[in-house]
């Protein structure tokens, strides 16, 4: 983004806080084609490998007294299962594998981004928009496949007085189509903002007077960001469940 014009642009910081989000090819050069291995694809692949390591390899033995990795896997499974059941209802359980995949992938991508020197894949809109659009398309297709034209009743609020309903319908349609936008920007924006704040404090650490303070601030922000990483994954999944519930039971 603003990699050239350093110094004047950075306002005295030793590095630009947004430099950490630059996509670079892994093996040199600066031409990026769709097949070029970049730091984004590397860390996406690492996230997938970690999910497989925890959920497939870690729980392989299926012990009655679970090992440490198996307990973590079971905990995550139970957590997401209960969330789908509570929020989206019993008949949404057939979408549980999809929602579980989403949750595990986002959690691992966020947590791997917290590793120093790592690249945070979920800070890029290109990654989160794909996830959110997939949810949007799934919800729309499921809604129409399950309810037919009755799915449009989602926009026709029956509980409102009749003269108000056309106005509400317009608002509901707009809010329906803004969903993937806010869904994706919430995740990417939170993660990106947190990482940028940590980098800004890291820039202050170079100034001798404030460096002890900024080290404390980095530690505190890091703790907060670990929390935010999990909560944002949770929020992304729970909103997916809410949208699915709308598709399965469109009446208000």
């Amino acid at each position: 983004m603003a990699s050239e014009a350093h110094g004047a642009e950075t306002g005295g910081l030793v590095f630009h806080p947004m430099d950490q989000f630059i996509v670079k090819p892994l093996f040199g050069g600066d031409v990026i084609n769709w097949y070029t291995p970049t730091n984004v694809t590397l860390w996406l692949a690492i996230a997938i490998v970690c999910v497989v390591a925890l959920m497939v390899v870690g729980t392989r033995r299926r012990a009655i007294v679970p090992s440490r990795s198996q307990s973590v896997g079971e905990l995550a499974y139970g957590f997401v299962y209960k969330m789908v059941e509570d929020v989206a209802g019993k008949d949404a359980i057939k979408f549980f594998p999809y929602i579980m995949t989403l949750f595990m992938f986002i959690v691992f991508a966020n947590f791997l981004g917290m590793v120093p020197m790592a690249f945070t894949t979920t800070s890029h809109f290109a990654v989160t928009v794909v996830l959110a659009l997939l949810v949007f398309v799934t919800v729309t297709v499921v809604g129409f496949a399950k309810n037919g034209a009755a799915f449009l009743g989602l926009f026709w609020v029956k509980s409102a007085p009749l003269p108000l309903r056309p106005v509400l319908a317009i608002i509901e349609v707009i809010s329906y189509f803004v969903r993937p936008v806010s869904h994706s920007i919430r995740l990417a924006g939170n993660v990106m903002a947190g990482h940028a704040v940590i980098k800004v404090f890291a820039g202050f650490a170079a100034i001798a007077v404030v460096s002890p303070l900024s080290v404390v601030a980095i530690t505190a922000m890091y703790g907060l960001e670990v929390l935010v990483s999990f909560i944002q994954a949770y929020v992304f999944t729970i909103l997916t469940c809410v949208y699915l519930k709308d598709a399965l039971h469109p009446s208000h």
Binding site: M83, G189, I231, V235
Partner: protein, 74 residues
């Protein structure tokens, strides 16, 4: 000149994050007030709490996005 105006606009967009902070505080504070009155019902409403926080926070993130666009895209 135009670039400097964009920077002022980015600073103004940061007001939005303060407004989002008020919204999130409202949600969490009201949840806590309700939860202390009826602690047995609180656990079942944490999902609603997070959904409410997420919706309030999203608009603050939008203002952050506007700030970023003004800084880097204009």
């Amino acid at each position: 000149m135009e670039g400097q105006l964009a920077h002022i606009g980015a600073g103004l967009a940061a007001i939005g994050s303060g407004a989002a902070a008020i919204g999130v505080g409202n949600v969490a504070g009201n949840f806590l007030a309700g939860a202390l009155r009826n602690p047995s019902a609180a656990a079942s409403q944490t999902a609603t709490l997070f959904i409410g926080i997420a919706f309030a926070e999203a608009l603050g993130i939008f203002s952050f996005l506007v700030a970023l666009l003004l800084m880097f895209a204009v």
